[in-house]
Amino acid sequence: MVESGFSSPRHDAFPAGLRVLVVDDDPTWLKILEKMLKKCSYEVTTCGLAREALTLLRERKDGYDIVISDVNMPDMDGFKLLEHVGLEMDLPVIMMSVDGETSRVMKGVQHGACDYLLKPIRMKELRNIWQHVFRKKIHEVRDIESLEGIEHYHMTRSGSDMVDDGHLLGGEDTTSVRKRKDAESKHDDKDLNDPSSTKKARVVWTVDLHQKFVKAVNQIGFDKVGPKKILDLMNVPWLTRENVASHLQKYRLYLSRLQKESDTKNSFVGMKNMDPPTKDSTTGFGLHNTVNMIKDDSSNGSYSFSVKNSIVQNVDIKGYEGDRKGMTSVAGANSKGALSIDIPNPRKAKSSQISFDHSLASVDSGVNFPSFNSSNPDQYSWREIPEIQFKQECEPLPLENGFGQLPLPVPQHHIQTDYIKPAPSISSAPSITEKEATSSSIEVKPLYEEYRSNHVKQLSPTEAVDFLPDQSKSQTLNNQVFEPISATTSTMRSQGISLNCLADLEFAQRNLNEDLQICWLQAQGDCYATNNGLQDLQGIEYNDPAPIYEIPFHLYDAPRFDHEHLFDPTEYSAIDQGLFA
């Protein structure tokens, strides 16, 4: 009865046939859970590794209804997986553990788990998991209904006043209308509310849309923000308050995660060399809410910027290898890629990060450079982190531009610049990830690999730091380089990128070897048409001046880099995307 889990949802006899993906490194539990779930008449797919699970999920965006995962797994923290799934696929995730400490449970909830089960798990607990799926569907239905507005048949049922409310601006009217609709929907045909059938219609948070969102949030002031206010500011007729509310929630989660990560991670996102998950064409990605872009294959490349909303537009994925289709314009293209850039430390680069004040996104764009944390792939989805800090430490971190710190041992700097092109605005994070850091960014890896294959060569130690002046591309260099940058960080604010830093970076870059290949994520084609600075880096090919690598670019060449562009909302998206990984 267990198929591969790729069947289409069954519409009959829900919850029977619920497609569950179980992830647990304990083989005994995996077997038991499988049996228990089968007994509940669910369709079960088991998986012993988190990465594998992500691969499966990415391969078939609509192949599963719910994910159950253990908290402790060897290859990836269960909470991370949870986030990834929530952001990329927006599936309900249930956490499990033999450890029931309140703090853990709380963490689970904070990361978005819809439930937390304690082992040993009983049958009756598993029988009820369908409620989470159902709940989500209902919410989606509401969103859809709002979205579709007039066309929705509910509208007609509700009367003509609904029609007039075509512009569901989330105003009171809409709310009441919606309430009415909700009440009605309860009596709706199962079809309409059938969880499995409504999955598709969701609000697609495109780059543009997200940008508007971010702008609105910043305008209002993050502390005072509320869905209604945001909605009003955004002025998007078909968007509903609910859409904004749930988006806001995710955004907040994302930001708080970034905060934490930046505090705890000191490594750049290491682009781990992950074997790219199945390679499909871009279709694998469900852009629908997240931009998973990582190019055309479902593997999220090395950088997974999971941008939730196809922010990918600016990402010129294509740039990468020229074959990343779909990614291009993620914005436009529906490449369902998962841009997941695991940026563990968004902004606070810990040691070894260059601090840039990122105001790239200046507040609104939330440019967050993905910090790739070499130790864990964190996904960042948008980051509105106003500052990208790259602090250089003596660590050999190659570029920390805000991308996590790669724990680079001095000698080996592999700067992986293969960043996924995702968010154009990943400005700071040139994917300089050390190869070693591999472990951390899962997502980034695949992309990285692919990218690398195209034109990236492993950076040799000397080049490790792109930005470092040639003195020694060792950490010390970094330190030197970065110090001034940090100092001037504050002044850069307006630029979003510390110009000083940029200058330094530029300098550093110029000195980089050709080997240093930084595959900047070319999220944005419009970013710099030429990376002069980068050009020095030869060998680096980006199709588009690395949007992601914005900082450096900007640094080098003001003209090249269109500063305005930096603040261009679309660019933000790129970054945001990364944030909203």
Partner: protein, 149 residues
Amino acid sequence: MDVVQLQRQLVDYKASLYNEAILDEQFTQLQELQDENNPDFVVEVVSLFFEDSERLLNELTKALEQQNIDFKRVDAHVHQLKGSSSSIGAQRVQKVCIAFRNCCEEQNVQGCLICLQQVKNEYSLVKTKLETMFKLEQQILAAGGSIPV
């Protein structure tokens, strides 16, 4: 011994395992999961448990033999062992794991070594008991009887 006697023996034996807290409710659940589709379900699961536990015990032994003990690592293994023992209801093993984790937290080497020994003992005990039980079951089946629930 005839079937009826064997069956009685089995029932008593199982009861003792529960009484001595060697096994708990979870084991019953496992048995309930077994059906015609998976007639050997319990044996399979228990075998997985044995394999996994032995691996973990080896890891633990190695880790605690190091000059500089990596307590985090030890703790991680214990946690895993705790998890898998909970899967089949090996209650006593699970209990020792809890104490073991405390020792790890305190970075108490002696305590850890003692716990390791204890957990090994408990593990051996549950393994022996389960193997005996399975043998009894086999005997019953071989004699044409059915396993009493």
